[in-house]
């Protein structure tokens, strides 16, 4: 009985690293899939194509990560995934910045139009003053 237990423990000791590596591969695959989905989402949000090169680069990194995962170079994959995570965050902020910039541009256009309208109204007011003076001369 003691002998069997010893053998079992020995086998279990041998199996732990193998099982651990298998779990790590699955975990990395999930992260890669998750980040690919994130890339797709970011592409959809990028209506102005402001960050398309960043997203393309991120997609190529993920493809490279997938290859490295297949080669069981998990450390390198982790580095790539950390970078892609940071890239995704950066892209989100750049998308937000682009949207805000567009909003600012729209607001500034609105200001331009309002100023143009104001200029027209002022011009109309000047003309009205002239017309009023002319009419007062007639009465």
């Amino acid at each position: 009985m003691t002998r069997y237990a010893t053998v079992f423990l020995f086998l279990a000791f041998l199996a732990v690293p193998v099982l651990a590596r298998a779990g790590e591969a699955d975990d990395l695959q999930r992260q890669i899939d998750y980040l690919k989905q994130t890339t797709t989402d970011l592409e959809r949000q990028d209506e102005q194509k402001a960050v398309s090169s960043d997203i393309m680069m991120m997609r190529s990194w993920l493809d490279n990560g997938w290859t490295l995962r297949s080669q069981e170079k998990y450390d390198e994959v982790r580095i790539i995934l950390d970078r892609c995570e940071a890239q995704a965050n950066m892209v989100r902020q750049r998308l937000t910045a682009a949207k805000l910039s567009a909003q600012a541009a729209a607001k500034e256009d609105e200001v331009k139009r309002a100023r143009a309208q104001l200029a027209r109204t002022k011009k109309a007011l000047e003309n009205a003053k002239i017309q009023k003076a002319r009419l007062e001369g007639k009465v």
């Binding site: 580095i79 940071a86 805000l100 600012a104 200001v111 104001l118 009205a128």
Partner: protein, 397 residues
């Protein structure tokens, strides 16, 4: 020598190889890009906005540089890429702040502009309202002027119309005058007695009427005046002949009546004759009826025969007839002058008797003809008696 030389060459080769193996490799592109990113002019703002990210990026930059210098290019690239990401992230956050600031500025500017525009628009509305009132006032003035002009035009039109009506009335009056003149001419039968003038007047009158209907008032007036004058001329020309004819006819009718009445007077003879242009009704009273023989004064009680004769002379219908009282004798019985005197005296007696009976003396004249106008054969006594007479002669044309 050779051995030493070979050893030296070997040493030089070894040193060269060692130094070559320890030389810094070319800088990775990613590190270059990271350095450029660090030099971005917006980086100070990014550092201020995201200091943690920038610290991480700086650290990544240091690691990338170190790894490059230690020939670990893969690690250098990894760190450089990570550094780029952090810097870009920080710059994005800074850009967001800038955009937010732009939006805030734009909103402020928009708010100010909108406020200013509202004020300007209000001023413009006020001004337009004033202009509207002024335009109404000006329009009213113009309307008043137009109304005055219209009234003046209407007044002028009315005056013209009135003038036209007046002219038409005057023309109508003149045509009426001409028509009256033509009618007057017709009353004197100008068509018969002055046919040329009457026809001309009628034609000119018709022309005047036509001109009036055509609205040619001046010409119509002129034509009417000519028609009137021509008609007057026609009437004037026709009047004497018409009057003469009318009078003759009237006198003839009266004479017929007179003759008939005279014929009914008893004790007298009545006859008619013509002497020159005059016609005569003669009532012959035998002298023996009123006078005794050789006497020239009416015998008393024998002048009653003069009563109906006097009544006849005085009758209104016959007052136009001049009356002659003519005494006649026969041609024998005395000197002619004596007969003439006797006949004149007898005529004067009858004349006086008639005046006594109310006959107007101005209508009568008395004379004696002696035996110059016998009416019967003087060789017989009856004839001579008939020739002794006093005649009451009514004259007419």
């Amino acid at each position: 020598m050779t051995t030493v030389f070979r050893a030296s060459l070997l040493c030089v080769f070894a040193v060269s190889m060692l130094s070559l193996g320890c030389a810094t490799p070319p800088k990775p592109r990613e590190l270059d890009a990271l350095e450029k990113l660090r030099a971005n002019p917006d980086m100070p703002a990014a550092r201020k906005k995201a200091p943690d990210l920038c610290k991480k990026a700086d650290k990544a930059f240091s690691s990338a540089t170190d790894k490059w210098q230690s020939n670990d290019l893969n690690e250098s690239v990894n760190h450089a890429l990570l550094g780029q990401i952090y810097y870009s992230h920080a710059l994005a956050l800074s850009d967001q702040d800038k955009s937010n600031a732009r939006i805030a500025d734009a909103e402020d500017a928009l708010s100010a502009t909108t406020e200013e525009h509202e004020k300007a628009q209000k001023d413009l509305d006020d001004m337009n309202e004033k202009i509207g009132l002024l335009q109404k006032s000006v329009h009213k003035d113009e309307e008043m002027k137009a109304l005055e002009a219209q009234m003046a035009a209407d007044k002028k039109a009315n005056e013209d119309k009135l003038s036209q009506e007046k002219l038409r009335a005057e023309t109508g009056d003149k045509i009426s005058d001409a028509e009256l003149a033509v009618k007057t001419a017709e009353t004197v039968n100008a068509a018969k007695y002055a046919p040329e003038l009457y026809k001309s007047a009628a034609q000119i009158l018709a022309k005047a009427q036509t001109e009036m209907q055509a609205g040619q008032m001046q010409q119509a007036q002129s034509s009417a005046a000519i028609a009137k004058k021509t008609a007057d001329d026609a009437a004037a020309a026709a009047k004497p002949a018409y009057a003469r004819d009318s009078q003759t006819e009237e006198s003839r009718k009266k004479a017929d009546g007179l003759f008939a009445e005279a014929s009914r007077i008893p004790g007298v003879t009545t006859r008619r004759d013509v002497r020159g242009s005059l016609q005569r009704i003669i009532i012959a009273i035998p002298a023996e009826t009123m006078f005794t023989k050789k006497q020239t004064v009416l015998a008393p009680g024998r002048d009653s025969v003069l009563n109906p004769i006097a009544d006849l002379i005085k009758k209104k219908d016959y007052q136009d007839f001049p009356v002659q009282v003519v005494g006649h004798t026969d041609s024998k019985g005395g000197a002619q002058s004596a007969l003439l005197a006797m006949s004149g005296a007898r005529a004067q007696s009858v004349f006086n008797a008639l005046v006594t009976r109310g006959v107007d003396v101005r209508r009568m004249m008395a004379n004696g003809q002696g035996g110059a106008e016998p009416i019967a054969d003087g060789r017989t006594a009856a004839g001579r008696a008939s020739n002794h007479r006093v005649e009451i002669v009514f004259l007419y044309q």
